[in-house]
């Protein structure tokens, strides 16, 4: 099946033209006829679900993978990016989502790492290195970053920007940003967009990969949709709409992303009560206090670093707690370690799926049973039949797409991996589920499915606390929203007061107090 020919409007000269690109890994057709073109100086969005072929396309363009078939033309001449250096020399720079920074080295050293400046004697020229780093950072408006600071001391957002600065210091004509906003807060994202606009003004062509359609529509000139390794469509941004793009991405209309139209039957009984929780003595003395009712989804909004993740980790016993009380169903809990929280009926879907949530190298079934091994074993002996049954049941319940339950978790896409983490906790039928960035790195389709699952759970009486940096996600999910700022609860909102401006003001600490609260 060939992709339908798209009438590409060619007023501007084509910088890069890719026709019918094919690439297979073993028997898997990662790229199955991708056509794609870049006009000089445009911002071109590349969207598609996980597995659509975006990453492979980027890797072919940047010389990481050789393609099997198809033609690439750069500036009208045939282009064969045989290795990453070749691609870089041709002016193609990639900023990967997974950072390639050396955390213990300074910002300046990281920026110069590909070609350190040397003195006449062949020694490292530190002055030149620092100057170069300063210039590179200034060029993208990062004046507040100290070039001597170790990268490890910076936040994720700054690391991302330093990668961009590094990519841009050499002559780049095409800058490919692979999901640059996945880990950024909205403020950081808007700063990134300013930087992209600046780069574009200098004539650099930007390829922007993102799952967030609002971002795509905010900065792109054109958008190309990939699905199953094929180009579905390339459109000017004015000629399409987010719904249209989503329809192309998933090949069907999507339900479930609309904000909740009706209130879930939330009981009046308080399940979890948190009073003056503090993780370290240096935090504000009043601590964090809130109640969670049965079947309620409580959202926690706030900037990165506002202390949201810390609240969840403290409640779960993942990190030690300094003071405060937690009561569950009227019983005061003593939570020193995760097993205490789990025993009390609390589950925790962590922010970092790969490092904390999953054992990637182990079977899907083993991951699902990890927190309920007692249910699938007898006197310490594993009952594999029971374990597989549990995995298949949860798989069906959560519409998990997998080959066999004995496949490693690493064989799954991001969305399905997240479903495995959910399944792990659902196997314990928790009373309270803590979720930190539950849809990070998950594609649009799976996101909607996860929202559906969470709402179903709420309807069944499971109470949840959701921390997210995506406001639309919280607006979709939360029955009530807390906004945190600098380790305090800055405000509490009910759905009729959910709007971005109100939330952001609270998150930046500009306003305070409880608005529209019923409690």
């Amino acid at each position: 099946m060939s992709s339908q020919p798209n009438p590409i409007v060619t007023e501007a000269p084509l910088l890069l033209d890719v026709q019918n690109l094919r690439k297979s890994f073993g028997g898997v057709h990662a790229l199955d006829g991708v056509s794609f073109s870049l006009k000089a100086g445009e911002v071109h969005a590349l969207v598609g679900e996980n597995g659509a072929g975006k990453s492979t396309l980027i890797k072919v363009l940047s010389g990481v993978h050789a393609h099997d078939d198809g033609t690439l033309t750069l500036d009208g001449a045939p282009f064969q990016p045989s290795d990453p250096h070749f691609a870089k020399a041709a002016g193609i720079q990639v900023v990967h989502q997974e950072f390639n920074l050396l955390n213990d080295l300074s910002v300046a050293e990281n920026i110069s790492i590909e070609a350190f400046p040397r003195t006449r004697f062949g020694l490292l020229d530190r002055t030149a290195m620092r100057e170069r780093a300063r210039a590179a950072l200034d060029a993208i408006g990062l004046r507040d970053v100290d070039v001597n600071a170790p990268v490890a001391s910076l936040g994720i957002a700054h690391r991302q920007l330093i990668e961009i600065a590094r990519a841009l210091q050499s002559e780049s004509r095409i800058l490919i940003l692979d999901e640059p906003t996945a880990t950024l807060t909205e403020r950081e994202t808007s700063r990134l967009f300013d930087i992209i606009a600046g780069i574009k003004a200098k004539g650099v062509t930007v390829v922007f990969v993102s799952h967030h359609l609002n971002e795509v529509f905010a900065i792109s000139d054109r958008v190309t949709v990939l699905r199953n390794g094929q180009t579905i469509v390339t459109q000017d941004i004015e000629e399409t709409s987010p719904d249209g793009v989503v329809a192309h991405m998933v090949g069907r209309a999507l339900a479930g992303t609309a904000p909740k139209a009706f209130a879930d039957p939330i009981g009046d009984d308080v399940v979890l009560s948190v009073n003056a929780l503090r993780l370290t003595p240096s935090l504000p003395a009043e601590g964090i206090s809130f109640d969670l009712r049965r079947g309620e989804i409580l959202g926690i909004a706030g900037l990165v670093g506002a202390g949201r993740t810390e609240v969840l980790r403290g409640l779960f016993g993942a990190d030690p707690v300094h003071s405060g009380t937690v009561t569950l169903d009227g019983r005061t809990l003593k939570i020193n370690q995760p097993r205490d929280a789990i025993a009390a009926g609390i589950g925790f879907v962590t922010e970092d799926r790969k490092d904390e949530g999953l054992i990637l190298g182990m079977e899907i079934a083993a991951n699902i049973s990890l927190a309920s091994l007692r249910d699938v074993s007898l006197r310490g002996l594993l009952n594999f039949a029971r374990e597989r049954r549990l995995a298949r049941q949860s798989g069906a319940q959560l519409t998990l797409k997998y080959g066999k339950v004995s496949d490693p978790a690493s064989s799954l896409s991001g969305g399905n991996q997240q479903k495995v983490v959910l399944a792990k906790w659902l196997a314990r039928t928790p009373k309270v589920l803590l979720l930190d960035e539950p849809t990070r790195g998950v594609d649009v389709g799976a996101k909607a499915e996860i929202y559906g699952i969470l709402k179903d759970l709420a309807a069944q009486g499971v109470s949840m606390i959701v921390v997210s940096s995506e406001l639309p996600e919280l607006i979709t999910l939360a029955d009530r929203m807390l906004v945190m700022c600098e380790n305090r609860i800055q405000g509490e909102l009910l759905p009729d007061h959910y709007d971005q401006e109100t939330i952001l003001k609270l998150a930046y600490g500009q306003t305070g107090g409880v608005e529209g609260s019923t409690s």
Partner: protein, 332 residues
Amino acid sequence: MSSTDDLSGVPKQNAFSVRAIINNAGIGLALLVLILFFAVTTEHFLSPNNITNILTQITINLILAVGMTFVILIGGIDLSVGSVMAFAAVVAGKAITLPGLGTTELILLACLAGLLAGLVCGILNGVLSAYWSLPSFIITLGMLNIARGAALQVSDAQTIYSFPFAFEEFGSKLIYGVPVVFLLGLALVAIAWFVLNRTVFGRLIYGIGNNEEAVRLAGHPVFWYKVAAFTICGLTAGIAAIVYMARLSIASPIAGIGFELNAIAAVIIGGTSLSGGRGSVIGTLLGAFIIGVLANGLILIGLSDFMRQMITGVVIIIAVVLDHYRAKFSAT
């Protein structure tokens, strides 16, 4: 996202268990090639006596390597097993030469004392490295010296000898040409396989090696599992000490120098990843065989000691390089 996600949705052809079998099959194939090679190039390699010899020769290393497999699977290393074995041997030797007890009591007492000595060293290794999350490399390097010093101290640097006949007989007894001590080693392999593959404990040993934090956040007491892995390793050092004494009729405080490296080599050649989480005790069995067959066969073909040492080194490096590629393939 990473490249793996681009291939998602497509079921992996090699399931976890199948892949493990393929991995072991590769090592088994290497062993088979070695055996065929020596069978063709030497006269006596496949003679019943020599097979008995090889089985005897690999036993101590096999027993140590079984314990080492647990420690390496959780991502640790135990450099102390050679010294701990010597310490346990000396303690057991002191016990078995006590005056005024019957033979059976003496043997039981010696076995208990030796196992206990190994156990205590293992627990110390585990508690010290797990409690402070210190690299086990350093802690067990310390234990290497402590146990060696203790062995010299307890024995006054003298070789202990003159054990009951029944005890020595156990070390040299054959059943249809198979040494009883090797059968003991094989039984330990079987037990270890069962524990690692069929029990919750084994599942979590693999889990900790893969992703300790995920296991902790799933509510499991990671600390105790780590201590248990080191304890098992200390215990196998104690068992190895008993076998050493029964075979050689002495307990020497300078026994076992460098044995830890052979045990680690057997585990790694057997396909267990040094970074933990992946591998099997069946591989360890094959790894111990490869080392033993090499040592034996290279003498039979008349290679010099120095060449023998070099070739053993080459084999270890090949194994680690192969492991690197295995890890790479299983990652994509």
